[in-house]
Amino acid sequence: MTVTDDLSTTAPAASGPTATAGRTVTLKIRRFDPEVSAKPLWKSYTVPFDPSDRLLDALHYVKWNLDGSLSFRRSCAHGVCGSDAMRINGSNRLACKVLVKDLGPEISIEPIKGLPVEKDLIVDMEPFFDAFRAVKPYLIAEGHEPTRERLQSAADRERFDDTTKCIMCAACTTSCPVFWNDGEYFGPAAMVAAHRFIFDSRDAGADERLEILNEREGVWRCRTTFNCSNACPRGIQVTKAIQEVKRALIFRRF
């Protein structure tokens, strides 16, 4: 009961809603509008925030109250749809998964790197999806179609569990120095998608996909900078997945 007493005496003064209502944060956003200027520029906005606010809430505050011309993608706002990947304080994050209070008094926000910027924080995702399609991210089965589900043991399912978590937000691919300099590189996300099927016991297309990733712009372009693993909002060990594909290519013939 002493705990409750402490709270009742100190809470209203120290951490009540009025104590935090006055806190503000500066969002430094990299703006780009090809219809206004060919050059991007930084614009700062001062935004009030609560300790529970995510960066997406702050961006909404800017768009709804300060500057309606700000453009960014978001859909579910709960870290599932993968729409709002952006470069926050220098590294790729989902705006809906980071808290404003953790990001400091001034937050820099830029579009993800390596894809053509269309407006403000919106990039053209088509090259990213092209790479995804190129690794055949769908079940390739052989033999007769079974009359019931394709069964799989728990251990076989576990083998590729990590790479099933991908939400295709492009945070990994656009954190990769190799991808910035070489748009032809498949990029981490496409390799995650390939890994998910290569190591699926029900799938028969592993060799086909391994050949695709054995190409010049495939897994061997990976320089193991681990930027992708650090950027993934789902915590996928992306570099490890790419390494497993490399290892499969090296050791499959022995």
Binding site: R87, G90, S175, T224, T225, N230
Partner: protein, 131 residues
């Protein structure tokens, strides 16, 4: 507020910076090897001009460059082992950070005493009052 038209530098972690350092040391070693192949090839042209070229190396600035070369080669070699292990060893990606810290410790252990002995002669001839 300073304008940064090119965007900010990507804030990577250990993996990215070790890759950057690997690139830079690699390019430095390439330039050294380029010069080294040329000066060593000179011995087939004329041993006396080889000697005179090597004589130009005997100064404090080249001595400092040699220390830099040793530092670059040792880092590049150790990090090369780390990268190889990341690709080939099953648990490589999981321990990449620990491997980098180990590498930095080994690098310090090799390069700091190495630099001491490499620079000892230079300091003795430049500032030494002995003999």
């Amino acid at each position: 507020m300073p304008k940064a038209p090119a965007g900010t530098l990507y804030r990577g972690r250990e993996g990215m910076w070790s890759w950057v350092a690997h690139r830079i040391t690699g390019v430095l070693i390439f330039f050294f090897l380029f010069a080294h192949v040329l000066d060593t090839a000179l011995v087939r042209v004329s041993p006396s001009s080889y000697d005179s070229v090597i004589a130009t190396y005997k100064n404090p600035i080249v001595n400092l460059m040699e220390v830099g070369l040793v530092a670059a080669v040792v880092f590049h070699a150790l990090n090369g082992i780390r990268i190889t292990l990341i690709d080939f060893w099953k648990s490589g990606p999981r321990f990449q950070r620990q491997m980098l810290y180990t590498e930095i410790v080994v690098w310090l252990v090799l390069v700091v005493p190495g630099a001491f002995f490499m620079l000892k002669h230079m300091f003795e001839t430049l500032f030494g009052s002995a003999s």
